[in-house]
């Protein structure tokens, strides 16, 4: 736990009847970071953030959010938190500008400016029911930011959006980060977490499996990069030199096709060797492990 932490959770437990949704969960969200909570459906992500928001009462554990207890001090906490909830909408007939007026408090930021910033100014007279998925999510972001929150919680922000709309929403989240807002992002999209998060917490069956920067998680749980190229007649000694490079774990050759496996560091070294031999294949391709690979390894690990 650090004094810099916006959210601190220790030993959180929440069950619904006999089904345990979250068990002995520890979590920290440092100020100014984007922290991702990832895992398969049913991992306990949404229950965790609902406890953090004070929407659910934990069965056990200690939670502090911006110095408040979210259960007993929800009314003091909520004005400081901007939330985008999973499976939550607005009345279909409520217009964009009316929604901003409804959720805007005296100490809030300029709603019209936020609508402009998120590209919704031309739609301010439109009813919520007529907005596209991307526009709705951007409106939820606007509403979450209206009252200058110190913490923004985004739960499945881009679920169901087309790729262009996802990119728009990602740009908006990056903008928040640049402005110093702390963001807790709940998602089951690993590419989203990898693109946006400073730190990622991987959950399964209500428990934390591992946490850290996305690159560290990839290094720990899916460290193998694969390089493929075609060399019909490789110079003598080239493949031996590649095989001796630090970090290379295997060099396979099937006819003219060559496949080299190893740590991410080998990518540059293999390239350098090929250039050194003046043998640059036209079809060289590199498969770099992603957070998705690491998450699949982690979640599939039977521990």
């Amino acid at each position: 736990m650090s004094t810099n932490d916006v959210v601190t959770v220790r030993g959180l437990r929440k069950a619904y009847g006999n089904r345990v949704a979250v068990e002995d969960l520890d979590l920290d969200v440092p100020a100014g970071e984007i922290v991702g909570l990832i895992g398969a459906n049913g991992a306990g992500k949404t229950t965790t953030v609902e406890c953090i928001q004070g929407l659910r009462t934990p069965d056990a554990g200690h939670l502090r959010v911006l110095g408040f207890d979210p259960v007993t001090q929800a009314s003091q906490l909520r004005p400081h938190v901007g939330s985008q909830l999973q499976d939550s909408a607005l009345p279909d007939r409520l217009r964009v500008a009316e929604a901003v007026e409804l959720f805007h408090t005296r100490h809030g930021t300029d709603g019209a400016q936020l609508l402009e910033q998120f590209g919704l100014a031309p739609r301010k007279g439109s009813a919520f029911g007529t907005l596209s998925g991307g526009e709705r999510q951007r409106l939820f972001l606007v509403l979450a930011l209206l009252n200058r929150p110190r913490l923004v919680i985004l739960d499945e922000l881009t679920q169901g959006l087309d790729p262009a709309a996802r990119r728009d929403v990602w740009a908006a989240v990056r903008q928040l980060h640049e402005e110093g807002t702390t963001v807790l992002l709940v998602t089951h999209e690993t590419d989203e977490a990898e693109a946006l998060c400073d730190r990622v917490i991987v959950m399964r069956d209500g428990r934390v499996l591992d946490a850290g920067p996305p690159a560290d998680l990839v290094d720990r749980h899916s460290p193998v990069a694969t390089i493929r190229f075609t060399l019909p007649d490789p110079p003598d000694g080239l493949l031996d030199q590649v095989g001796r490079l630090a970090g290379v774990s295997a060099v396979d050759r099937h006819g003219p096709r060559v496949m080299v496996r190893g740590s991410r560091r080998i990518i540059a070294h293999v390239g350098a060797v090929l250039v050194g031999w003046d043998t640059v294949p036209d079809d060289l391709s590199v498969q770099v492990p992603t957070l998705e690979d690491a998450t699949i390894t982690l979640i599939g690990d039977p521990r």
């Binding site: 909520r78 939330s83 007939r93 409804l102």
Partner: protein
């Protein structure tokens, strides 16, 4: 004037104004049916109508049709729709005070009742004439208590029914028998005894009696007023807890 509760009340009024179910059921339906049935039995005082003008009997009865439509159809469907779509959760996490939504529903329900009743009387007066109020204090008391009772009943229904569709189905199932047996249908004197026994304890029947009898001077309906007051206290206490964000 920018408190969260005031903002919520304003938004709820806007939503109510744009809701075709409200416009149809709360404003149009009572007026149309009152105009039809109010003219069906003529204006000659009749024994079936406690020797009052049948048109006046129905004018004095139809204010509670408005109250029933609000409490059994408008409020439950509205609230269940909000719960189903997560709107209430959004209000809660946005920091709206715990009681703000309950207060907003009550204010919107009561003001809508006043507007719809005013419109109904404005239409009835030039057509059938306004029956003179024999005991205005009792009538107003019964109307206010009844309006609170049915808004609370609507909140309770909306908070236990799982979806807007189920709220609409259950609401209509409760509304139409209550309407036909207790407010806008045939007078109790022409009903068979079994139907009369079923109709008598219905909340809308109790409320209609508590309004109509002192209005037309055919009774005080004290028992009915006490019963509807007791029901209001119980239902409001339960509904208030259910509507907390």
């Amino acid at each position: 004037m920018n408190s969260p509760t005031i903002r919520l009340i304003k938004a709820e009024f806007t939503m109510m104004r744009r809701d075709p179910l409200v416009l149809t059921f709360v404003f149009a339906f009572p007026i149309v049916t009152m105009l039809i049935i109010g003219g069906a039995f003529g204006t000659t005082p009749d024994r079936a109508f406690d020797f009052t003008n049948p048109s006046h009997w129905y004018v004095a009865s139809y204010l509670t049709v408005v109250i029933g439509a609000i409490g059994l159809v408008m409020v439950p469907v509205h609230l269940a729709s909000y719960r189903e779509r997560g709107v209430l959760r959004r209000f809660a996490v946005a920091g709206f005070p715990r009681w703000s939504f309950a207060i907003a529903e009550l204010v919107v329900g009561l003001v809508t009742t006043a507007l719809a009743c005013g419109l109904l009387l404005a239409v009835a007066t030039p057509v059938y004439g306004l029956p003179s109020l024999q005991n205005p204090l009792r009538v107003v008391t019964a109307l206010v208590i009844g309006a609170v009772c049915f808004v609370a009943l609507g909140v309770l229904l909306g908070s236990v029914l799982p979806s807007a569709r189920s709220a609409q189905a259950v609401g209509l199932l409760l509304f139409f028998p209550s309407f036909l047996l207790g407010a806008g249908g045939p007078p109790p004197h022409v009903m068979g005894s079994a139907v009369h026994e079923v109709a008598r304890p219905l909340p809308l029947t109790l409320l209609t009696d508590a309004v109509r009898e002192p209005w037309l001077g055919i009774g005080t309906a004290t028992v009915q007023l006490i019963a509807i007051t007791a029901l209001t206290i119980v239902v409001t206490a339960v509904a208030a807890r259910r509507a907390v964000l």
